[in-house]
Symmetry: none
């Protein structure tokens, strides 16, 4: 019997039972343990199963592991930025928070604020603010992106168009030497641009690592941003440019 048949059946069993054991499968198919191990290795390599000692399980979407790690990266610097940003957010306004670990950090610092209307397309922000008393939370619709809990796509944009924000707080994937905000995901770019368009004032929160990265899609220029919060001095002649653009730059140091 070809391994292809077994693979199909193994997946079927795994879906029904939630798990499979090497021993059990060997018995079921009447083959040796080693054969089953090879099957499971193959399936695990394709990401169809998750190998564990003694068997395998259905994969528990592995994508957000990278995200969780990223989240702990630069945690202190991010918290400092977020604090500075939160300090400049008045009470009694409407604001938008978009996708990214930096905006999530800002959300955590909003605990003490009063009477905010917060709109977000970030599930994590919504979860954080769900425990905060002083603000009403509105979630945009959208397709859930597992990697980072973002809500993107047509639905998100349509929702945003129904609002006008006093303030938008956004993050981005990268920030290049020319002062352009860049993102990995084209879908997300559309959302971000819509946010900028619907906001009276804009804060960008971007730690220094963003300036060492690159990304394909352009969201906007720093010239369209009112204030940039970051954790290290800007490189090259960006400070001068920002001054010319009337873009305030707030640099914080991690404690």
């Amino acid at each position: 019997m070809s391994h292809a048949f077994r693979h199909r059946d193994i997946l079927e069993i795994a879906r029904q039972e939630g798990k499979v054991t090497v021993e059990g499968l060997a018995q079921h198919f009447g083959v040796t343990l080693q054969t089953i191990r090879r099957d499971l290795s193959d399936l695990a390599e394709d990401g169809r199963l998750e190998r564990v000692h003694g068997g395998a399980m259905l994969p528990s979407s592995t994508s957000n592991i990278g995200y969780e790690q990223r989240q702990t990266l630069n945690a202190k610097a991010k918290a400092a930025m977020a604090k500075a940003c939160a300090q400049r957010i008045p009470n009694n306004i409407s604001l938008f928070l978009n996708i990214g670990t930096s905006t999530e950090a800002v959300a955590r610092e909003l605990r003490a604020h009063q009477n905010l209307l917060v709109v977000t397309n970030n599930m994590n922000v919504a979860n954080i603010l769900a425990e905060t008393q002083g603000c009403e939370v509105v979630v945009t619709g959208g397709n859930l992106r597992r990697a980072d809990g973002g809500l993107v796509g047509k639905l998100a944009i349509e929702t945003i168009l129904q609002f006008k924000f006093d303030l938008a707080i956004i993050g981005c994937s990268a920030l290049d030497r020319d002062g352009d905000l860049l993102d990995f995901d084209i879908q997300e770019v559309g959302v971000s641009q819509t946010i900028l368009q619907q906001s009276r004032k804009t804060y960008l929160v971007a730690d220094a690592s963003k300036m060492k990265r690159n990304a394909p899609a352009r969201i906007a220029s720093l010239s369209e941003i009112d204030t940039l919060f970051t954790d290290a001095p800007l490189p090259a002649d960006l400070p001068e440019r920002c001054a010319a653009w009337d873009t305030e730059v707030v640099v914080t140091q991690a404690s």
Copy 2:
């Protein structure tokens, strides 16, 4: 057998019972206390559980306490209902899950399904399914209701109107003797009615406690529901009525 299997089950039990004991788990899995201690240490290290003397609990970060208590109420019965419901959900369809602990239980049972498009106005459902591979998740917009993670209001309804679902799985606050579905929140009623209107088929998941309660707003009648999943026989002459309405009733027993 691998600890990975146990870890998954331990978390599952912890969610249902709210807590786990070393002794109880050791008995449940047929392993020594030390093995369970190691498991709990691992899970605690990952922040998935909070270790306490004699066992472990859900980490305190998880949402609202009143809500959580309600969630652990009837946990086993709910899981049984949810399993029965999930079994009748085919692969490769679009479905809606609305607000309520019962629908969240169903979401947990969708792990093994393939190629589902799940739309929900329940943040908890979205969080649960974010870790499930076999389905794409779309979140409706809406105002976040802290009490239960529900998204309600105009935005939610507008989003739902953009879809047509193969199947809707809904919960309700109460179910009265006449076979009417009732809810505490007028806003939520509008959402639920819109869902019913946009769905080809409808499942209602409601445990027996719903029949002892009352609520002010009427969503619909059982006659508009295809199948009712519950955990105790219906009172009075409801079974006959359901038969006349061609509403199937599935009664499950907690194991």
